[in-house]
Symmetry: C2
Subunit: 110 residues, 2 copies
Amino acid sequence: MDFDGTMCPKYQRAVDLLARRWTPLIIRMLLSRPRRFSELRATIPGLSDRLLSERLKEMEEEGIVVRQVYAETPVRVFYSLTAKGRDMERIVAEIQRWADKWEQLPLEHA
Amino acid sequence: MDFDGTMCPKYQRAVDLLARRWTPLIIRMLLSRPRRFSELRATIPGLSDRLLSERLKEMEEEGIVVRQVYAETPVRVFYSLTAKGRDMERIVAEIQRWADKWEQLPLEHA
């Protein structure tokens, strides 16, 4: 891919979405399977109910996540990725690859 | 790649780095070639000298960027990516691919 050094509004918009705290972690968790709210909440230490709700709502509005309600007793609610959300797997995989390669090394100017 | 839904500190650290405002855009610009401070500043509307200095300093500390001084008259200073920084090209490319594919579409729940 060729980067000519100009601004790209689409790139910047995608980056702004990924920059929201916990969003890339929630996406990473939902890549394996749909999750319940309580499950997402339990995995991320320090994440409040309010902030998790906010993030999931934003992701629904962006068309990345869908909220699925199963009318059982008790009602069960699952969050899962849309096609647009699942297509972020390649971004997540590249961040993971980079992190596994570089983050364990001492900081050095290569 | 298999994501088991657990926390990964390395992943989270990489994500936190990329979440800093303008950092992914600066990396994208430096992928094409080394850049002078003024050049980076001019391309990003609304980016102050102070904030750009701060971001570049952080990126130097993370071992992503090097500052190269050419002892000419007048002195010229260039910023370029280290091997660790250049290896982010695949992350940037995946974000760009995703953005080009999805960001032009109306928001919809696929």
